[in-house]
């Protein structure tokens, strides 16, 4: 029974990883950039939900919507200001800029809201039993919202015109723009959706681990990126799979081996996956063209 309990915990945290990994994978698919600032958008999302629930007294639902919108705007602004001018520059410049943006966001929040962790308000109390397993409502809510968003995202990418444009741009930016696709707008939409998902991920994460501090996003974001790489970067089902693998691996390690070893095992999985299949579990192997 304990095993199933841990599995559910793993699925819960894994679905949050998956939400954040989706943002990484979409952005990487379209502009080939590891958006280091993505992790910090998680933190921004958590702070927005925290303030809107505590100071403004809004319910969780409205707060999440607010966080989604504000973080989507933040993501677009970051892309426009910091990444867009470097689209043709060497990769390393864009990566260093992304690191710069990440440190900038962390430090702005640290200086404005103090580095100490703040308690996150309780979202819903209680739990329910299935057989002999106890599932808290927070866990159920996390899994529910994540699955809903993933289905929604899959529909957007596969069925709508915007989604078609995204897939076209990620395949070949030049050809897409020749076909009349507004590349800049498509990239902005990608950043908006990715950042919004990160904000929701942040809020759900904070509901499960109710402490918010300016540096919470760095490690969490890194693990989510690792999830995206494990699943195969650029692939949406891959990101979901990677997130779930990460979450389950983490909760199993905590339960059965040692909580100190979680990070080591998680990053170890990354190294093993990259050694065996460098493009990730569901990734395509792309040949480099001259």
């Amino acid at each position: 029974m304990n095993f199933i309990q841990q599995l559910i915990n793993g699925l819960s945290i894994g679905s949050v990883y998956a939400l954040v990994a989706l943002g990484y994978t979409m952005v990487y698919g379209i502009v080939k950039l590891i958006n280091f600032a993505h992790g910090d958008i998680i933190m921004v999302g958590s702070y927005i939900v925290l303030f809107s629930m505590k100071s403004a007294g809004f319910p969780f639902w409205i707060s999440i919507l607010g966080a989604f919108t504000l973080c989507a705007i933040l993501g677009v602004v970051i892309e426009r200001v910091a990444y867009k001018p470097l689209r043709q520059a060497p990769r390393i410049s864009a990566l260093i800029t992304a690191i710069g943006v990440s440190i900038l966001i962390q430090n702005v929040f640290m200086l404005s809201f103090k580095p100490d962790p703040r308690p996150f308000p309780n979202v819903i109390d209680g739990n329910f039993g299935i057989g002999s397993i106890n599932v808290s409502y927070t866990t159920a809510l996390t899994i529910g919202i994540s699955v809903l968003l993933m289905i929604l995202l899959q529909l957007i990418v596969k069925k709508t015109k915007v989604g078609k444009a995204m897939r076209a741009v990620s395949e070949d930016e030049g050809a897409a723009s020749l076909m009349g696709i507004n590349v800049n707008r498509t990239i902005s939409i990608t950043f908006a959706i990715g950042s919004g998902l990160a904000a929701v991920g942040g809020a759900l994460y904070s509901a499960a681990y109710p402490l918010v501090d300016p540096f919470m996003g760095a490690m969490f974001g890194l693990k989510a990126f690792v999830a995206a790489v494990i699943g195969g970067i650029g692939s949406i089902p891959g990101a979901i799979l990677g997130g779930l693998i990460m979450g389950i691996a983490e909760s199993m390690t905590k339960a059965y081996i040692s909580s100190q070893l979680t990070d080591i095992i998680v990053f170890g999985i990354l190294i093993v996956v990259l050694l065996v299949k460098p493009s990730g579990i569901m990734g395509k192997n792309v040949k480099e063209k001259v």
Binding site: Y28, K32, L33, I34, A82, P85, L86, A89, P90, R91, I92, S93, A94, L95, I96, T97, I99, G100, V101, S102, I103, L104, Q106, N107, V108, L111, A218, L222, F225, V226, V229, S258, Q260, L261, D263, I264, F267, G268, L270, I271, L274, L275, P278, E288, V290
Partner: protein, 327 residues
Amino acid sequence: MKNNFKYTAFIVLLLLVTYFVFVFLISSKTINNYYQGILMLIMINVMLAVSLNLVTGFLGQLTLGHAGFMAIGAYVSALFTKVSELPDILSFVIALILAGIAAAAAGIIIGIPALRLKGDYIAILTLSAGEIIRGLIIYFDEYTGGSRGMKMIPAYSNFSNVFWIMIITIFVIYSIIHSRHGRAVIAIREDEIAAESVGINIVNYKLFAFCISAFFAGVAGALFAHYNTLLDPNNFDYNYSIEMLIMVVFGGMGSLTGSIVAALGLTALPQILSDFSNYRMLLYSILLIIIMLFKPSGLFGTHEFSIMAIGGLFKGKKSKTKKRGDL
């Protein structure tokens, strides 16, 4: 050729003068212990920045785990000197070499999966590796003291040995860059596919640069351990790797002298302006973004500072050291 000899002699003379000036200032207590500490930190950071520049600046690969290699060097050397019964100097020398080899070995282990992949994965893999190293140090607390830290490391580092090891590091990396191998490394940065098609073995050269860089990071870590006499695994986290990267970027990716100047400035500045330390990272991050947007090769680019050029300026004639081969 004659000019070159004169130039080398001049550099050696300059180094000796600098060295003896500092030794005199330290022995006459003009530089007190506090400033001497800053000086040691500067020299160690110079070693780290210069070795990181080999991979980030000259090879063009973003690595974020340099602090991890430093940690390996620090812990390996400290573990050795704590149990070693050999005379101090001998045991310190062996510890330094062991530190370098251990870090280089870790570099190879991480490098083999990392370097088979394209640019961006290396950043993530090295970052992960840095975290794994730190995690392992904390986990094996029987030997390393875990997160409580490792104490009572003999204080073997002093100004003289750190200074000369720093000079050796710079000299070795300078020589590598200006050798056939260095040109191969730079060719990989400029265009991987073109480099491969003229017969440069990309994987080998990447591993080579990665390994050398890790080696000197390990040695720097050993010097740090025997200067600080206390090791805390949290000193070697992601943020320290980022700080080294900032030094390399500010100094110019592909400029050794730039790295030296940047390491000096960025280490000394926060110590002198203590009020500034809260806003330090904020300022650095903004500068990082601005530099990348407007001058992606770093503040000084690949330009090397030249003492001869300054000399030429005083003489009022054009310096003859335009060639890339000269410092």
